[in-house]
């Protein structure tokens, strides 16, 4: 018990220095927590995916469409319960900076496949009834303040021209992981227009969403679909929704690795700052350690005093940092909200934070401890400052 008292007294002997060190640890833990949350936000799409949904796309790459005629062949495959399709539109709302995902969907079946998008019932019916209708997630509404009945114009990049849509529905996610930043409209609307302006591009879809009857058979069904179209003009690549999202994440792999490296650097920076504080503290108290030794204290007792003090300081900083991470993540999530669907701090981050704080506390104490335990009593008593 007296050890703890001693630690607390010692730690706050230099109030300014200790509080500055605690502050820097708080900042570092906060930064680390935010970086980890940032990384997990990349993976949010994969986490929210359903195990029973498969994505079928052109095997060459995503930019190549699939013919609409594939749909009947896929339906016949054993294990397929339901299917729908979409096509990437890549329209621009006023300016390129206003980026949000927008695509054409085979509306009725598509929404049935995504029970996590929840509409007020009348709005869903209104959307399905209006071919020029579109529906968007609540996060986009927060950003652009559209109201039901508004006309939203997107400038096509893949499909030239200005396209007008009437806002008919606003959905929200069933839980936090559902993506609330999407913009859907009717594939029929796109297709009918293409039939008039660019007939060679009509009756094509970007990808099929296939629901399987039993998630444990997903791999088997995926293989069966790809086998059906092997050696055809439009070979397919079918994978689970999760694998589909992960392939996007892995393309940005270098950026994620860079962010991970940076979070390692944060840890090293706190080690340097804390080690510095401990080194200064130990240097000033060399005389005291010599007195302790004269009184008969062993090396390990002195060591435990230094290590304990170091751990105490890092743990206080760590607690502040953990407490501040969720509100900071919330603010950060508001700023970059349109790029990332979810910005949540998970429990693992908090455990890792604590682990790091312990690690930093131990590392920072190594050199001072070594110096303090090695010093000869006479030298220690003689030395000043």
């Amino acid at each position: 018990m007296y050890l703890l008292k001693l630690l607390l007294r010692n730690a706050f002997r230099h109030k300014l220095r200790t509080s500055l060190t605690v502050l820097s640890i708080t900042i570092a833990i906060l930064a680390f927590g935010l970086l980890r949350t940032f990384i997990s936000a990349w993976y949010a799409g994969a986490e929210a995916s359903s195990a029973s949904r498969l994505v079928t796309r052109n095997a060459i790459s995503l930019i190549f469409p699939l013919p609409l005629s594939h749909k009947d062949k896929i339906r016949q495959i054993d294990g397929v319960r339901q299917l729908s399709w979409g096509r990437w539109f890549a329209g621009i709302y006023i300016d390129e900076k206003n980026f949000f995902a927008n695509y054409a969907i085979d509306a009725k079946d598509y929404l049935a496949l995504y029970p996590e998008f929840i509409f007020p019932p009348d709005q869903q019916a209104a959307f399905l009834a209006d071919r020029r209708g579109c529906c968007v997630g609540t996060k986009l509404i927060e950003r652009y303040h559209w109201r039901i009945g508004d006309i939203v114009t997107l400038k096509g990049t893949i499909f030239p021209g200005n396209w007008e849509f009437v806002l008919r529905g606003i959905y929200h996610g069933r839980d936090e992981s559902a993506d609330e930043r999407l913009f859907f409209f009717h594939w029929d609307y796109l297709n009918e227009s293409l039939k008039k302006t660019a007939p060679s591009r009509a009756d094509q879809v970007g990808w099929y969403i296939v629901e399987v009857t039993d998630p444990s058979r997903a791999a088997e069904v995926a293989q069966a679909i790809d086998k059906t179209f092997k050696n055809s003009l439009a070979e397919t690549l079918t994978e689970t929704e999760r694998a589909f999202f992960l392939s996007f994440v892995s393309m940005a792999g270098a950026i994620i690795v860079a962010i991970q490296l940076v979070s390692l650097v944060v840890i090293i920076i706190i080690i340097a700052v804390t080690a510095n504080t401990m080194a200064m503290t130990a240097r000033e108290r060399i005389g005291e350690y010599a007195i302790f030794k004269t009184l008969g204290y062993r090396g390990w007792r002195i060591a435990s005093m230094i290590i304990g003090e170091s751990l105490l300081i890092t743990m206080i900083g760590c607690l502040f940092g953990i407490a501040l991470t969720p509100p900071a993540a919330k603010i950060f999530g508001k700023i970059v909200g349109t790029y990332f669907r979810a910005f949540r701090v998970d429990m693992a981050t908090i455990y890792i934070d604590i682990g790091i704080a312990i690690l930093v506390g131990l590392f920072a104490a190594i050199v001072p401890t070594w110096r303090a335990t090695k010093i000869r009593i006479a030298d220690g008593l003689r030395r000043i400052g």
Partner: protein
Amino acid sequence: MGVPISYSFRNLWTRRLTTVLTASGMALVVFVFAAILMLAEGLRKTLVETGSYDNVVVVRKGSNSEVMSWVTRYQASLIETQPEVAIGADSQPLLAKEMVVLITLPKRMTNTPSNVVIRGIGASSLALRPQVKLLEGRMPRPGLSEIIAGRSIAERFKGGGIGEILRFGMRDWIVVGIFDAGNTGFSSEIWGDADQLMQAFRRSVYSSVILKLRDPSEFERVKERIESDPRLSLEAKRESRFYAEQSESMARFLRILGTALTIIFSLGAIIGAMITMYSAVATRTGEIGTMRAIGFQRMSILGAFLAEALLLGLIGGCAGLFLASFLQLLTISTINFQTFSELAFSFTLTVDIVWKGLVFALIMGFVGGVLPAIGASRMNIVESLRTS
């Protein structure tokens, strides 16, 4: 001024451990700061060098990359007849009708798939891009299923090496050559005969038309004529500008990320410097009193401690930049979200980044040292002598 300053320098040496720890904290911040600026600069440089000022890219109106663009054969031949197009040595116009698509290829190391640009080229494509040099093998012969791969594709993707075979579009394509295009986006592309590739992908339209201007100053005229022609609905851009635009949003993303990170990190390092300087002042109270007693002015004391903090920052800054300069040996490849294709580029250190890094380090030193230094300069002579 001489004595207090040399006194400060010697102090940094005496408290080596503290100096090293504080400076290394700052060095890491400068390292991260420089690394992210170098990354954004490398990306920008790669894409800017890809385009040349004399060339014009013609794409469909509203498309921001070649992959999204459509140019019909009819439109392409209308552009071919523009008088501003330069004439090559073989008395043919220096103009290439190209097709650009993306294909998914697995990487050699990890087997993870990524999007790679395939460019269908014409007879003049190589002449239009003097930066592209054939390293090994030969050019693909028109009419055959042959392709050549850029250096970074050959190194990083399965089936990209010379003599290897890639299968797409229901055909086997043999890699007959490797080309090097220096630090440009072309190094991350695969080239083949445009007509063969269009057949394989069942496409009847080109993606873009590249032409060299007879006289670079005639750009405005040809741009105006192409864009006002109702048969075309195309737009013309200088090639250099076309590629520079493709780096913008990614470079902006990196810059915002980098600035946010370095601001947070620098707070940590500034606090580190502050701790060091406060303790430097605290442990030397007696010495400060002595100096004041023998006639040094308050300003000299302030200057001495500020100089110490700035020197600490300078050491940190130099160390950080020294570490960051090694990053130039690395090549990074990531997806460019604007074109959705894989691009390889390297960290690029410029004089500008060196200056920014050093100024940043000095600012960190200054902010960390200014309060302790003011505190030191305002000490009362008698009291400070008594405390020692």
